[in-house]
């Protein structure tokens, strides 16, 4: 329950911090940290416009997408406190409930019949497909290390006792940050700020969504970022007491937001064809974690 509340709070200003960091880095004052929240509130007050070519799929997809993200968040623990839902194998459920939301977004994009959205949908599908092995190899290694298969048990068992574990946690957070960047369509995979439909990934897929629906998709995006942040927090918090764990939670979330802002300020995004290579390379980093775990467990002959 604690994680749910914390994620909701963190999601309120996560994107605001990213935007503010980018503004400051380019010498501008930038909007307030709460501006993205106001944007969503504004969108929630508006009605949606539907093209006559779309069907009911297009209308339910944003809701399914938002629900899938909330559902995934329910599974996340916070330190010693389990998530709202916790069961063996819940990290597999986590990945596929997110995939379900994404699936609906993709078929909704195809439903519009626009060549732009089809292009975005195919890119998004490809990139998440490549990102999936990285996530499973990472979580699988954690499961192997701890001998448990639910988020709560894995993170509660995860003791950062030795140096090698710190190294593994470092690598794991790198992989998770990058997965978060891919899943949230941030730089260097995608440029959320661009106005150029031909270069977009996520934005072009939701080009036809408007008003309330767009608000839902945007809000789900904010939640997703905080959600991946929470996974990273859990790697380090472990069995720390709540009075330290909660400030640590916000510190790590803020740190992640600032680094996203800095990455987006000081580098150019990848060429589209290099994205696939980059994402597949993440899986090899995850494999490194897997071998590290085997090493720790003395299973490597």
């Amino acid at each position: 329950m604690l994680s749910l509340v914390l994620i909701f709070i963190a999601s309120l200003f996560f994107t605001g911090i990213v935007i503010r960091t980018k503004s400051l880095a380019s010498g501008r004052k930038g909007p307030g940290v709460m501006q993205p929240l106001y944007d969503v509130v504004r969108l929630f007050r508006k009605g949606s416009v539907y093209s006559p070519t779309t069907t009911v799929i297009f209308q339910v997809a944003p809701t399914v997408y938002f629900a899938s993200v909330v559902m995934a968040i329910l599974l996340l623990p916070m330190g010693q406190m389990p998530g709202v839902l916790s069961f063996d194998g819940d990290f597999i459920f986590f990945a596929y409930i997110l995939a379900l939301g994404k699936f609906f977004n993709i078929i909704a994009a195809l439903d519009t019949g626009s060549s732009f959205q089809g292009m975005g949908a195919s890119r998004e599908a490809l990139f998440s497909m490549f990102a999936e092995p990285a996530f499973f190899i990472l979580m699988g290694s954690m499961a192997l290390l701890t001998g448990h298969t639910s988020f709560h048990d894995i993170f509660a068992e995860l003791h950062l006792g030795s140096t090698i574990n710190y190294a593994l946690a470092g690598l794991a957070s790198f992989v998770l940050v990058m997965i978060a960047m891919i899943e949230n369509s941030r730089m260097p995979i995608d440029d959320p700020k661009t106005h150029l439909e031909l270069t977009m990934v996520h934005e072009v897929m939701i080009l036809d969504n408007s008003g309330f629906d767009l608000g839902l998709i945007t809000a789900a995006g904010y939640l997703k970022f905080a959600m991946y942040g929470t996974l990273i927090v859990n790697l380090f918090v472990g069995s720390t007491d709540p009075q330290y764990a909660i400030p640590l939670f916000f510190a790590i979330q803020a740190l992640m937001a600032v680094s996203v802002g800095l990455i987006e300020s000081f580098m150019a995004r990848f060429r589209m064809s290099h994205n696939a290579q980059f994402i597949v390379a993440l899986s090899s980093v995850a494999l490194l974690i897997f071998f590290g775990v085997l090493l720790v467990l003395n299973k490597l002959v």
């Binding site: 880095a25 380019s26 060549s115 089809g118 440029d191 661009t194 031909l198 000081f266 995004r269």
Partner: protein, 499 residues
């Protein structure tokens, strides 16, 4: 000698242009293009008097600095053999002639409409029925972009045929910006209105186009521009080049999502355009160039101011450009993206910046110089790879070059002189051609006067008229997601093409 050789903004009598049979006209004009890599067509247009139509073709020779003019009288109904098959640079000119006068061009690849002018020969041709090249394939797909774009750019429709993410073919349909400037130039008798119209040909080349218009006008009215007039115009032309190039570099950074470059270069454009405001009252140089007068003379106070601006500009500009050229993520987007081969550039008659990035040293400032450029010995900067990287680095070096020229010129500021208005009456039955190297490339204006000494035909050619084809060729086999960066690296004018 069966053609007339003239130099840049020289006025000649219309009847001095040799008229010849079409076979000779065809051989002559395709021959130059075929036989010399220094020749390119600067203008090919029709001059209508009653039922007669006079086709005038002007070919510039970069090696000799002259312009070859020849003409063919026709009636508009006789079919003419297309020159495109032998010299592809005539392709768009012939489409334009066909659209405006209904001349049947035989063996032209595809006489598509160019810009749907109001008085086009075939009124059944409309924007909705544009004949796109299309495909009948299950594997390939078409993507249409525009004419309404997400950014604040002008309208134009881009039709891609793609194999997945790879572009196989791009067709660019323009004409949405057509305002009938050429007709308005003739119709409006007021000189100030005409100058204002010239400013509106392409908003980002206000100085370039208005200077060309003034050169045509002054040549036709035999008014010799005084040193301070030439000085102010040339200085402004180079400042315009610097400002637009800086803005384009910023836009290229925006398109690859490099925020630092985008914001720093965006900021650096401001002092230059603000200086134009200080000097001439408008950031984009509107109202700055007027025929027969120097409205805003350059003074030593302005010189001091500009020196300070340049010092600050240069420091920041070099720093950020060094940063960009060392940034792997940016370089990987620029290098080998949107390549135009030298052969293609030559075939389509590319001019200006685009030609210079493909290894063709085509620069009016060097080959057909007038005014301050005659004493300058300008050496055009030439790049050889024809990719986005070449276009970015060319802009960087041209900015430095322009800055050096302006600095040099600021050492000797000519005395301001009082001017009389040029004779409103132009030479009757005369022909003038003027070429100016604007920041995009060569701008060509041609004027023909009637018996009363008033404009009968005014023909404008923006460098974009040639160079749009270069963009269509550049994106082939590139990823469709790289189209925006290719487009921005060219930054061609829609308004200048559509007139």
């Amino acid at each position: 000698m069966n053609h007339l050789t003239i130099h840049n903004h020289q006025t000649i009598a219309l009847e001095d242009i040799p008229r010849m049979a079409y076979a000779d006209f065809y051989d002559l004009n395709t021959g130059w293009i075929k036989n010399s890599e220094h020749c390119h067509c600067v203008n090919y247009f029709g001059h209508r008097t009653g039922k007669d139509l006079l086709l005038i073709c002007c070919v510039a020779d970069d090696a000799t600095g002259s312009i070859y003019v020849s003409a063919h009288p026709t009636n508009g109904h006789t079919p003419l053999e297309s020159m495109t098959a032998v010299a592809p640079c005539y392709e768009r000119f012939e489409r334009e002639l066909h659209e405006n006068f209904g001349i049947p061009m035989v063996n032209h690849p595809w006489l598509k409409p160019v810009r749907y002018p109001h008085h086009r020969a075939d009124q059944t041709q409309t924007m909705d029925t544009y004949p796109f090249y299309s495909i009948d394939s299950e594997e390939l797909h078409e993507v249409g972009v525009g004419p309404i774009h997400a950014g604040i750019i002008e309208p134009g429709h881009f039709r891609f045929i793609c194999n997945g993410e790879q572009i196989l073919h791009l067709e660019i349909q323009l004409g949405y910006q057509h305002r009938g400037i050429e007709a308005l130039m003739v119709k409006n008798k007021n000189l100030l209105r005409r100058a204002t119209l010239a400013e509106a040909i392409a908003g980002d080349t206000a100085i370039g186009h208005t200077t060309t218009f003034c050169n045509v006008w002054e040549s036709l009215s035999q008014w010799e521009p005084t040193p301070d007039v030439v000085y102010a115009r040339t200085l402004a032309l180079e400042l315009e080049r610097m400002a637009i190039h800086t803005g384009d570099l910023s836009a290229v950074c925006t398109d690859v999502a490099y925020q630092l470059g985008s914001s720093v270069l965006g900021r650096l454009r401001t002092p230059i355009v603000n200086f134009m405001q200080e000097w001439g009252g408008n950031r984009l140089g509107k109202g700055f160039v007027r025929p027969g007068q120097c409205v805003f003379p350059f003074t030593s106070q302005l010189s001091d101011r500009l020196t300070t601006i340049f010092t600050e500009y240069e420091r920041d500009f070099n720093e950020i450009m060094d940063e960009i050229f060392q940034l792997p993520s940016a370089l990987s987007r620029f290098e080998r993206t949107g390549v135009v081969s030298t052969e293609d550039a030559r075939a389509i008659g590319a001019v200006g910046m685009v030609a210079r990035t493909c290894g063709i040293a085509r620069d009016i400032r060097a080959t057909h110089p007038t005014g301050l450029y005659t004493t300058l010995a300008h050496a055009p900067i030439v790049k050889h790879h024809g990719d986005v990287y070449a276009r970015v680095s060319l802009r960087r070096e041209e900015i430095a070059q322009s800055m050096a020229y302006v600095r040099e010129w600021m050492n000797t500021i000519p005395e301001s002189s009082l001017h009389t208005e040029p004779a409103q009456r132009l030479q009757p039955n005369a022909f003038t051609l003027s070429l100016t190297e604007g920041w995009r490339g060569e701008i060509c204006h041609c004027a023909i006067t009637d018996d009363n000494g008033d404009l009968a035909t005014y023909k404008i050619k923006d460098p974009s008229f040639h160079n749009w084809m270069a963009l269509a060729l550049a994106v082939r086999n590139n990823e469709i997601s790289d189209f925006p960066i290719c487009n921005k690296s060219f930054n061609l004018s829609y308004a200048g093409h559509d007139l």
